[in-house]
Symmetry: C2
Subunit: 336 residues, 2 copies
């Protein structure tokens, strides 16, 4: 029986005394130009002799992988979990997905956990193939089964309901993996659906509260030994009041908290997502951390050549910020 | 200014006098064993001399592509649009996405349209990268822009709201592309969220009706010359009453109708999705069509070697069924 994902995640958070997550959102125009220039030189010969467009896509995938690798090298001692987002990779087709695949593999080599940010949903059988591809085992042409992306958890969307999420829960139970279902997302328009008020038959709840109830039900099959479940929720750091409600409805969920950094959230804003025991949340930072070299106070101290060191400093500052907010609120693991 | 997607879709439907769509859901265990055996022979040498697992993934991707190719060859004269689903491809990582990429390219070569069934959503900037990758142009390592997957339309999920869908709408407007937003999906549990009753402030509507209103608003920027919009909705053939409501709320939407065939829908069930003018719906058939060789009446007439001919017969039968239901209801284009 593989170890439960929530247990593995809490152990990893304890080991690094850090409930934060690095979001790998590699925007090619923001990748240091020195790194891109070196690669263009490396690929120059192939570009001149072969299919230029194909080689350019390959070189772009390589730039993304090397950038991710730099960030992972610089921060995997500090952070327990990385969250590569598929959009930034898949936009380049198979070459981009190859960069995603190698990134996942590299994170695992460095001993950190991987959440694939893919926001998947589909009906029954189709969802099961996504689940097997990212979390379980796929059937190859000769009938053998093999693990494929083999990440630790994925993000999921709830609109299709149990027929989608349930397929992921089955694979998670079998393989010790996890999921985070979109509940109250960090974007300004998230209320268009998520804050809709339901009628009295549904207790006058808002839609995100109803989604939270469903997540609580779906997660029942995935409880770990440390009291948390391997199916959690996504709740933006910029909606602290909603986080309080989510925490009440889903006491055993691990909440993935985006919108720290770029979207304005601070360590203090993330506190409602934690339980009194100091667990139950993982705070994500993407652009402001991985592209720290572009922003003060890092820009003046690190040139673009030192983008990875800037990211490391930013990861350390984030840990300090989140932990000091946890300490002030009293929500900090007793053994830290 | 590129031609509007809805106009292109209606023209293609007219050209083939067929409002149906072939869903490419290639399940490896259902691909004819003769095709797989031939490929295993072809790849045998490489498997023995190289990295066996890597070669097995490549061979699996090749099997998927060749299967899709057989279906496309047999049916692209009959059907105007194909809908490859990412799940069945992406489960095999970069090799699977490569098969998806080649499939898209092959469909375009055959002069049919492509809807990528990806059910995408993400916040703002991230959604824009998905939109560019599937529908627009991506920035390569040297700063040049290139089209990537270059499909005609994608499926989308609405939970995140305008911040997600709006990014796709922008790219659709610029590149003459389209989208279909999940509204009332065909699965049994779709009501868990989609049938929730909202309170009186929202007119006591059900959630899927509210989603339909949002789709109607989002689609305003994408109206074509033939009266339809390039942003449509997904409404399952097995929910005909809900289809009537969706049709009322979104008079100018093209509705993508799954659940014909495998999920029990017939031509008659799809009629509420059409407008009186005989347009406004595209009916999808996946497994029952592409794997027709496994089911009667095709199984006895075609062996697995003739899986493509079985699919062709099934596509012809589906056109006949849908068109005769359209004719009986009076909802058929006047010029057919």
């Amino acid at each position: 029986m593989p170890k439960n994902f929530a247990d593995r995640l809490l152990d990893a958070i304890d080991e690094k005394q850090n409930p934060s997550c690095v979001g790998l959102d590699p925007v090619v125009s923001d990748i240091p130009s020195t790194l891109k220039k070196r690669l263009l030189d490396e690929y120059k010969g192939r570009m001149e002799s072969g299919n230029k467009w194909k080689v350019l896509f390959e070189a772009t995938g390589e730039a993304i992988f090397r950038f991710n690798q730099g960030i992972i090298d610089a921060s995997s001692e500090i952070v327990p979990v990385f969250k590569p987002n598929m959009a930034f990779h898949q936009q380049y087709g198979p070459e981009g997905v190859h960069a995603f695949w190698r990134t996942v593999d590299y994170i695992r080599q460095k001993g950190a956990l991987v959440i694939a940010d893919v926001k998947l949903e589909d009906i029954g059988k189709t969802a099961s193939f996504y689940a097997r591809g990212f979390l379980g085992a796929v059937e190859l042409i000769d009938g053998t089964m093999a693990s494929s992306f083999n990440v630790d958890a994925v993000t999921l969307s709830p609109y299709i309901g149990s027929d989608s999420v349930g397929e992921f829960v089955k694979v998670c139970a079998e393989h010790g993996k996890g999921g985070f279902v979109l509940d109250k997302t960090s974007n300004p328009s998230s209320g268009e659906l998520q804050d809709l008020k339901l009628d009295d038959r549904h207790g006058g709840r808002l839609l995100y509260e109803h989604t939270a109830l469903l997540i609580e039900q779906w997660s029942a099959a995935l409880k770990g030994e440390r009291g948390y479940a391997s199916l959690g929720a996504v709740v933006g750091a910029n909606y602290p009041e909603q986080a309080v409600r989510c925490r009440e409805i889903m006491p055993n969920a691990v909440i993935l908290v985006p919108a720290y950094g770029a979207q304005g959230g601070t360590g203090k804003d993330t506190i409602p997502n934690f339980n009194e025991d100091g667990y139950g949340a993982i705070v994500n930072n993407s652009s402001m951390l991985i592209f720290a070299y572009k922003f003060e106070p890092y820009r003046s101290r690190f040139g673009e050549e030192k983008f990875a060191e800037a990211a490391r400093e930013s990861a350390l500052a984030m840990r300090e910020d989140v932990i000091s907010a946890m300490r002030s609120s009293g929500k900090i693991p007793s053994k830290w």
